[in-house]
C-alpha cells in the first residue's frame, strides 16, 4: 500500500476511534471543531486551489449556513436536521449569487472583491439587531445529538462524508476541467469547455459544503454569531489551504488537523494563552519559508516518488514502478551499467 494511503487510513481510524480512546470532553470538543473546520478548509481548496477562484471571503458561505440554519430552527421552528440541510441550500444560493457576480473578475480583483461580501452581510445583520441578534448573535439551538460523544460523531461523520465527497469530486473529470480553468481559462474555453457553467457549479458546490459546515458549527455551538462571518475566519481558510498545500483537498484537512489542535493546546497553557495567535502565525511563517508549496506536498515528496513513465505514485523505497515496472530512479539504476566499476 502507498505510504500516503496508509496515512489516510490511519487518520480515518483515528478519527473514528478517538472518543473510545480519549473520552475527555475537552478533547472531544476540540476534535469536533477540528472536523468542522477541516471540511470548511477543504471546500475553500476546491474553489481556490482547483478552480483558481482565490476567495478571500469564504466565511460568507460559512456564516450564511450558520445564520440561516440558526434562524430557521429558532424563528420558524424547523427541526435541527432540516435546518442544517436548508442552511446548506441557502448557502448554495448565496454561492451561486457570488459566483455570478464574480464571473467577470479574475486574479487579485476577484480575491479583493470577495473579501467584501461577508462584511456587507455583517453590516446588514448589525443594522437589524432585533432579527439577527446584533453583535451577540443567536443562541439557544438544540444540538443534533443528545450526548457529547454523539455530537462528536455527527461532526466527524459529516466531515468524513464531505471531505471524501469533495476529494472524489475533485479527482473526477470535473476536477480536471477545474485545473484547466485555473491554468488557462482562455485555452479551456477554446477547447470547448463552458467555463461559465463550470465556474458557477464550483461556486455552488463549494458554498454548499461551506454552508453545511457552518450549519453544523451553529448546531454544535448552539448558536451563531458575527464571528462566523469575520475576515479572520476567511483568512483562516486561506492560511489552512496554503499551509497544507493547494489543490490537494487532503492538504487543507491536514493543515486544520495540525494547526487547530496545536493552537488550542498552546492556548491551554496559561503562559501561552495570550501569545497563542502569535505562535500560530510564526509557525505558519517558518513552515512556509522551508516548504513554500505547503506541508503535504513536501511530506509526499519525501515518502513517494512519481514514476517517470506512467506518472503513478510509488513508495520511495521501490526501485521499479509498481504499475509499469519502469526504473524509478533513472540515474541510480543506470550508473552501474555505465561506469565500468
Amino acid at each position: 500500500m502507498l505510504p500516503s494511503r496508509t496515512l489516510a487510513a490511519v487518520w480515518v481510524v483515528a478519527v473514528v476511534l478517538l472518543p473510545v480512546v480519549v473520552p475527555d470532553p475537552y478533547v472531544l470538543r476540540v476534535a469536533a471543531m477540528t472536523c468542522i473546520f477541516a471540511a470548511f478548509a477543504a471546500s475553500w481548496d476546491l474553489l481556490a486551489g482547483y478552480a483558481g477562484q482565490v476567495n478571500f471571503g469564504h466565511a460568507l458561505f460559512f456564516g450564511a449556513g450558520a445564520y440561516s440554519s440558526a434562524l430557521l430552527s429558532l424563528r420558524l421552528g424547523f427541526s435541527s436536521w432540516l435546518a442544517v440541510a436548508t442552511g446548506g441550500l441557502i448557502a448554495t444560493a448565496v454561492g451561486l449569487c457570488v459566483g455570478y457576480l464574480c464571473l467577470r473578475l479574475r486574479g487579485s480583483y476577484l480575491s479583493l472583491a470577495t473579501l467584501a461580501f461577508p462584511l456587507i452581510l455583517i453590516g446588514i445583520l448589525f443594522a437589524v439587531p432585533d432579527f439577527s441578534g446584533g453583535e451577540l448573535g443567536i443562541t439557544g439551538l438544540t444540538p443534533l445529538a443528545t450526548t457529547r460523544i454523539g455530537n462528536y460523531y455527527v461532526a466527524a461523520a459529516a466531515m468524513l462524508a464531505l471531505v471524501f465527497g469533495i476529494w472524489a469530486f475533485a479527482d473526477s473529470r470535473f476536477g480536471l476541467v477545474l485545473h484547466a480553468i485555473r491554468d488557462d481559462e482562455l485555452a479551456a474555453r477554446a477547447s470547448g469547455i463552458d467555463t461559465t457553467r463550470y465556474k458557477m457549479a464550483v461556486f455552488g458546490i463549494s458554498a454548499a459544503v461551506a454552508g453545511l459546515t457552518g450549519a453544523f458549527y451553529a448546531h454544535f455551538m448552539r448558536g451563531a454569531g458575527p464571528s462566523t462571518l469575520e475576515t479572520a475566519l476567511s483568512f483562516q481558510a486561506v492560511i489552512w489551504g496554503v499551509f497544507g498545500g493547494l489543490a490537494t483537498i487532503y492538504g487543507p484537512v491536514t493543515a486544520v488537523f495540525v494547526l487547530y489542535p496545536l493552537t488550542e493546546w498552546l492556548g491551554s497553557f496559561h503562559a501561552f494563552g495570550e501569545l497563542r495567535l502569535l505562535i500560530f502565525a510564526i509557525v505558519v511563517l517558518l513552515v512556509l519559508l522551508f516548504m513554500p508549496r505547503g506541508l503535504t506536498p513536501w511530506v509526499r515528496d519525501r515518502i513517494e516518488t512519481r514514476c517517470p513513465r506512467c506518472k503513478q505514485q510509488n513508495p520511495v523505497w521501490r526501485e521499479i514502478c509498481r504499475v509499469c515496472s519502469a526504473p524509478l530512479h533513472e540515474h541510480r539504476a543506470r550508473t552501474p551499467a555505465q561506469s565500468p566499476r
Binding site: R104, L112, A116, L288
Partner: protein, 289 residues
C-alpha cells in the same frame, strides 16, 4: 450637517488615499497583495504612542522616528520573509497575512487590548471659509496632500520613478533594459510602507489606537484600490475620495449608518466592478499566461 460631511469625507478620503497609493504601488511593481499594509499603519500609530506618551519625545521627532522605524522594519520583513518565497504566489499571500497577525499579537501583548489615546499635535479649531475644522484634521489634510504631491513628483519626475513605473508596466522588459528589478521592488516596498506609516502617524491622534485598528482600514483600502483600478495612482486617489465621501454621507444621513458605512462602500465597489471589472481607472495588465 453638510459641512460635517464635506470635512469628514475629505479628511478620511485623503488618509485612505495615502494608504491606497502605497498598496497600489506594491501591487503594481511586485504583484504582492500586501495584507500587512495597514498593519504597518497600525505599527506606526503604536510607535508614535510609545515615543510620544511613554518616552516624551516631541511630536515632530517621534513622528519622524516612527515613520523611519516602520519603514526599516518593512524592508527587513521583505528581505527575510517575502523574498525567499517570491516564486510562490500563494505563499507570499499568507506570509503577509501571517505578518499582519504577528504585528497585531505583538502589539496586543506589549500594550494590551485597551484603546489608547494620543494627544493632538496641535489643539484648537481652525476657521476655514467660515467652517470650524480641528487643526489636527487640517494637519491630516495638509500632510496627505503634501505626500501625494511628493509621490507624484517621485513617480513622474525622477529616474527612480521611471524605473518603478517601467517595472510595474512590464517586469521582464524592465529587467532586460538593465534595471535592478529586485532593488526597485524593495524601494517600492519602502516607499509604500513609508506612506502607510505617515498616514498612521497623522491619523493616530484623531482615531483611537488599538491592536485591531488595521482591519477596518484594510477592507476600505482594498475597496478603494479595486474601485480605482489596481496599480493606478490617480485611480486610487479618486477612489479614496469617493469612498471617504460615501462613508461620510452614510454615517450622517442613514439610520444605523455607523454599522452600514462599510456595507454601503463595499456594495458600491461591487456594483462598479460589475460594470467595469478592471475598476474605474484600471491599468490593463497584460495577461500572464
Amino acid at each position: 450637517m453638510f459641512q460635517d460631511i464635506l470635512v469628514t469625507g475629505l479628511v478620511n478620503g485623503s488618509a485612505y488615499a495615502l494608504l491606497a497609493i502605497g498598496f497600489s504601488l506594491i501591487f503594481g511593481v511586485a504583484r504582492i497583495v500586501n495584507i500587512a499594509h495597514t498593519a504597518f499603519y497600525m505599527l506606526a500609530a503604536y510607535c508614535l504612542y510609545a515615543l510620544l506618551v511613554r518616552f516624551g519625545l516631541g511630536v515632530p521627532l517621534s513622528g519622524v522616528v516612527a515613520v523611519v522605524l516602520v519603514t526599516l522594519l518593512s524592508v527587513a520583513c521583505y528581505r527575510l520573509v517575502i523574498e525567499p518565497v517570491r516564486q510562490h504566489e500563494a505563499a507570499v499571500l499568507i506570509a503577509t497575512i501571517a505578518l499582519a497577525l504577528i504585528f497585531q499579537e505583538t502589539m496586543l501583548s506589549i500594550f494590551g487590548g485597551n484603546y489608547l489615546g494620543i494627544p493632538s499635535a496641535i489643539e484648537g479649531v481652525a476657521n476655514v471659509f467660515g467652517m470650524g475644522i480641528p487643526w489636527q484634521r487640517l494637519l491630516i489634510l495638509i500632510v496627505a496632500g503634501g505626500m501625494l504631491g511628493a509621490t507624484w513628483l517621485l513617480l513622474y519626475r525622477t529616474r527612480l520613478g521611471l524605473a518603478i513605473r517601467a517595472t510595474a508596466n512590464d517586469l521582464e522588459v524592465a529587467n532586460l533594459m538593465g534595471m535592478n528589478v529586485h532593488r526597485v521592488a524593495m524601494v517600492t516596498v519602502a516607499i509604500s510602507v513609508g506612506l502607510a506609516a505617515i498616514a498612521g502617524v497623522a491619523v493616530a491622534p484623531v482615531f483611537v489606537v488599538d491592536p485591531f485598528m488595521w482591519l477596518a482600514p484594510l477592507v476600505t483600502v482594498l475597496s478603494v484600490v479595486v474601485l480605482g483600478g489596481l496599480g493606478s495612482i490617480h485611480g486610487s486617489v479618486i477612489g479614496a475620495l469617493a469612498i471617504g465621501y460615501v462613508e461620510a454621507i452614510t454615517v450622517f444621513l442613514l439610520p444605523q449608518g455607523a454599522f452600514l458605512k462599510g456595507a454601503v462602500a463595499l456594495s458600491i465597489m461591487v456594483i462598479v466592478l460589475l460594470f467595469r471589472p478592471e475598476g474605474l481607472f484600471g491599468v490593463a495588465f497584460e495577461e500572464e499566461r
